[in-house]
Symmetry: C2
Amino acid sequence: MSIRSSAGTKRVRLSPEERRLQLITLGAEMLADRSLEEVSVDDIAKQAGISRGLLFHYFASKQEFHEAIARHVSTEFFTAIMPNRDLSLFDMLRDSIERFVDYATEHSASYRSVLRGPASVTPDMADYVNETRGAIADLIVSELPLPPEDPDLARLTLAIRGWIAFVEETILTWMVEKPIGREDLVDLLVESLPALALSPALIAALRG
Amino acid sequence: MSIRSSAGTKRVRLSPEERRLQLITLGAEMLADRSLEEVSVDDIAKQAGISRGLLFHYFASKQEFHEAIARHVSTEFFTAIMPNRDLSLFDMLRDSIERFVDYATEHSASYRSVLRGPASVTPDMADYVNETRGAIADLIVSELPLPPEDPDLARLTLAIRGWIAFVEETILTWMVEKPIGREDLVDLLVESLPALALSPALIAALRG
């Protein structure tokens, strides 16, 4: 059986997994201009050309649907910037930052909303955003050749956490007016991590 | 005539200016756990021991009252960190950052809420926060001995904007667990600005 949307366009039949992803993706796109609570089940079902009842076949409740959207947005972003471990440390940093800039640029409206706008204050969404920031910080700290008892570790961990906010804000500001080119932006972000967080001795050790 | 609160405590009569400030301050304290829209005129009037009608004697509308609260919070913060121009550039930076940390610590609940919580998404409040960030960035750029046509100015301005987010996030994270002492935090924040934003040549010129 093929499914037709309300506009009568012929639709390919989706597997349950594909349908779930389609509904979540439609929901994630809506975060561009509204909070998670304002993502309407009726609107999503209409856009997907299915009934409200069928949507609840895939998600037990509106709350579960919203939670799935929040998780999806965070996972998609974190996956997009995952480091390529075939590269040297500094190349790995540049490569991940380039993908960070690309992700933010390609999802600019929802990225801004999730970090600063209506979508940023739902506890679910805010928790996922915070967990993602923590996961990025842990990832960076784990790459550094520091013993766990290093006395600078507490300061370093704090600085890296602050650096993630630096990257987010710099990209958000850059996207509005693009005062410098993309390559200059990437340079600034790459150079900022050692500048903010690392001691000269640690930088020398990393450069080997 | 002396005004008594609902609890019967004797109150000193306030001048119109003092009353206005009292109402705004009560509203600003409420931002610790709610958005600007949720600051209730009835609750504020009750806390101040005045009638709802009298509150509207000082503010033409609920909207105007909320706007006054948002403006007050931003102005109070900006005033708290204003640089002391009797100091040298680096001492001025340290002195302002110490007051930044003190302000955030003394207003921790409302500071967090205005930047990250329920109070952060009201357009009025978000606009004031953004304007304050812009004003801090302008203040810093204006202190630097750079000609307006300097080719690095666009990158520097962007970096300083990101640095403000670094300071905010680092302080917010620090306030939760205090992983390092206050002096170490101040050192980290002070050192981060030249490390991040300035070229070695500019740092040498400033120290000169």
